[in-house]
């Protein structure tokens, strides 16, 4: 049934997973304060529903989603909201974002949870709404609201639910450990998603460098039909949905389209687990498994932590930082972002926290491109990164777009192989940012145009009304005179 077509390009970076994957998932102790940014998902910022000083229980809704494309925020523990306002965001810029600060009371008391008796008996759309209410977003780093995907999928005919357990980024092993230790829950979650989408089958794809996870998932899916656990080759970026779909189904997602266009819906293993927790136990997404690793971490391992826990606390519980890290990252080394400090909180999309040592981070000055076309060979999207970068360098954004910027997934394979050490990904980030800027400027331009046209129309109307009133007044003034005159 499965045509194991190979994906093009890709790289084989050193995995560095052994140390963190060897230890079981540890529970992170409750920190004194939790910092909760209001936007931990793709889409609109959540709107606070509680006041400063309010006492909240664990799992209580703190901020609701204003639009479809958004996700609510729940209290990870019980305590008091001591501040609502700007907090330091886990973002490379070090800027602040709106958020809440929750002072934990240590009781960790749950709110009354609405636990469905048998989710399989419930209406699929109601289940999708439950996922939305639980604030589940893509935990692989994409942070796209899971319910939006489910609802979208419900409108299409979905053949396959693809559980993405490939985890191709070096260092990260949180999905690996999750699949090993909570295989039944992940399989249950996958079956719930299958139920929601009425999909025909489930495929669980795991890279072949995780034999333990493969075995565990195979054992857990044994009792059910229509679940297939496939080993995919360990290759970066296998975890990217488009590449994984191509590998597993042999079909390519059309450019500009979604995976539903080829009858597949992809969810990360961590997300599947979170969905299972929401549907089986009514628990909103308030915690996740995070890999804490890197050469500067004393005791690299996976930790299940509450959302909002400061990064420093996680490093402390993993043996502390041995040295001043050369690079502090949120996510994996390929697509992760630099953290401005260790004070920032863990968010829903945090797959890993890396404190990389000097020898782990390449630091070479970049040289001119020699057009060796290694980036072309490595690009999993079949683009020409060198041409895109050359055009971005001279700010020819349309040219860059034409050479593939619009299809770029920013996976970083090109930068990884570049012998000239050109920061290709940063060029593309810059170009994408500039295009966003242009687009928003054009939107604003249109908006302003509409506004000024509306204003002109209104002024003309007012003028006409005034003139009419004046004329009426004049008529009134002249009419009585006429009456007298004869």
């Amino acid at each position: 049934m499965f045509n194991l077509a190979h994906i093009r390009g890709g790289i084989h970076p050193a995995a560095h997973k052994d140390r963190s994957a060897a230890l079981g998932i540890a529970a992170q102790p409750l920190p004194p304060r939790l910092y909760l940014p209001l936007r931990q998902h793709a889409g609109a910022e959540a709107l606070p529903l509680v006041r400063e000083g309010a006492r909240v229980l664990k799992g209580q809704l703190l901020a609701g989603s204003p639009t479809e494309l958004s996700a609510p925020i729940h209290a990870p523990s019980s305590g008091r909201i001591i501040a609502i306002g700007p907090i330091e965001a886990p973002h490379p810029s070090g800027l602040q974002a709106n958020g809440m600060v929750l002072e934990c009371d240590g009781e960790d008391r749950w709110v009354d949870l609405d636990v469905p008796a048998d989710p399989f008996a419930e209406d699929p759309l109601r289940l999708a709404n439950r996922v939305a209410e639980a604030g589940v977003v893509g935990l692989g780093g994409a942070i796209f609201p899971a319910a939006v995907k489910l609802r979208q999928g419900a409108k299409h005919e979905i053949k396959t639910v693809l559980v993405n357990g490939s985890e191709c980024e070096p260092y990260l092993s949180c999905d690996d450990r999750l699949m090993r230790e909570r295989a039944e829950a992940v399989v249950d979650g996958a079956r719930l998603i299958q139920h929601i989408l009425r999909a025909y089958s489930i495929v669980i794809a795991i890279e072949d460098n995780k034999p333990a996870a493969l075995a565990a998932m195979r054992a857990a899916s044994e009792p059910y039909g229509a679940i297939e656990v496939v080993a995919v080759p360990a290759l970066y970026p296998m975890g990217s949905a488009k590449q994984l779909i191509c590998q597993v189904t042999g079909r390519e997602v059309p450019a500009g389209g979604r995976s539903t266009d080829v009858g597949v819906l992809v969810h990360n293993a961590g997300t599947v687990y979170a969905i299972q927790q929401a549907l089986r136990h009514g628990r909103p997404l308030i915690s996740r498994v995070v890999t804490v690793a890197g050469g500067c971490v004393g005791n690299p391992r996976n930790v299940e932590t509450l959302i909002g826990t400061p990064v420093q606390a996680l490093f402390d519980s993993c043996g502390g930082l041995l040295r001043e890290p050369r690079q502090l990252l949120l996510g994996g080394p390929m697509m992760g972002v630099v953290l401005p400090s260790t004070r920032v909180p863990v968010i829903k999309g945090a797959t890993g926290l890396l404190a990389l040592d000097r020898h782990e981070v390449p630091q070479r000055e970049s040289a001119p491109c020699i057009r060796c076309s290694r980036c072309v060979d490595a690009c999993p999207m079949g683009l020409a990164p060198l041409e895109m970068a050359a055009r971005t360098r001279v700010d020819d954004l349309d040219g860059a777009s034409e050479y593939g910027l619009r299809d770029c997934i920013l996976c970083g394979c090109c930068s990884y192989v570049c012998p000239s050490h050109i920061p290709l990904v940063q060029y593309f980030q810059y170009a994408v940012g500039q295009q966003d800027e242009r687009r928003s400027a054009a939107r604003k331009n249109d908006y302003i145009k509409r506004l000024s046209e509306a204003r002109a129309a209104r002024l003309a109307e007012e003028e006409a009304a005034r003139a009419a009133a004046k004329a009426a007044k004049k008529r009134k003034a002249t009419a009585p005179a006429g009456e007298v005159s004869p």
Binding site: S93, R438, L451
Partner: protein
């Protein structure tokens, strides 16, 4: 000699006549469609920041090459690029002024409504006697409210950095 003159004259006549006929069959309308096209692109707020009385005047100035493609601050880089492409002129991205927004100092605002009336894009909201406020997504930074304000409590400033407006910088590398 006479033959040469005759031949040349004949050729001239023939070619001239032929071209005249061709010009009639292949005539194109003289009116420049470019001005209309450019005017449609301009913000249309008639703010006058370009130095021309309104957007259509600026459009014809652009077509005639009297105005630079970077003359419209509300349009920003996006507009300048479109204009440069349409007019086939090189774009000096450095010449584009960074966008600014008006900001009302709440403490000094008396709620006189003058800025509200002056704003060409209805970007100022407020009622008589109440503090006014600028809608950042509608403000072009034209500064007409500054002139109108009797309290001098409006200032133009670049937008404060937020995560929504943060962009990756261009690499410095070779």
């Amino acid at each position: 000699m006479l033959g040469a003159i005759l031949v040349l004259a004949l050729m001239g006549l023939l070619l001239g006549g032929g071209l005249g006929l061709a010009a009639r069959y292949l005539a194109v309308s003289e009116e420049n469609p470019l001005i209309k096209e450019i005017e449609a692109l301009m913000p249309g707020s008639q703010c006058g920041q370009c130095g021309y009385p309104g957007c259509s005047a600026a459009a014809s100035a652009l077509v005639e090459g009297r105005a630079a493609v970077t003359c419209c601050p509300p349009g920003g880089v996006a507009l300048a690029e479109r204009l440069a492409e349409l007019l086939g002129v090189p774009l000096d991205a450095g010449a584009i002024a960074a966008p600014v927004l008006a900001r009302i100092e709440a403490a000094e605002c008396t709620g006189c409504m003058r800025c509200y009336r002056a704003c060409p894009t209805d970007a100022i909201v407020g009622a008589s006697g109440q503090i006014h406020c600028v809608l950042s997504n509608a403000c072009t930074g034209c500064g007409k409210c500054l002139e109108a304000c009797p309290e001098d409590c409006i200032a133009l400033a670049p937008q404060a950095p937020t995560l929504d407006h943060w962009r990756w910088a261009k690499p410095q590398a070779a």
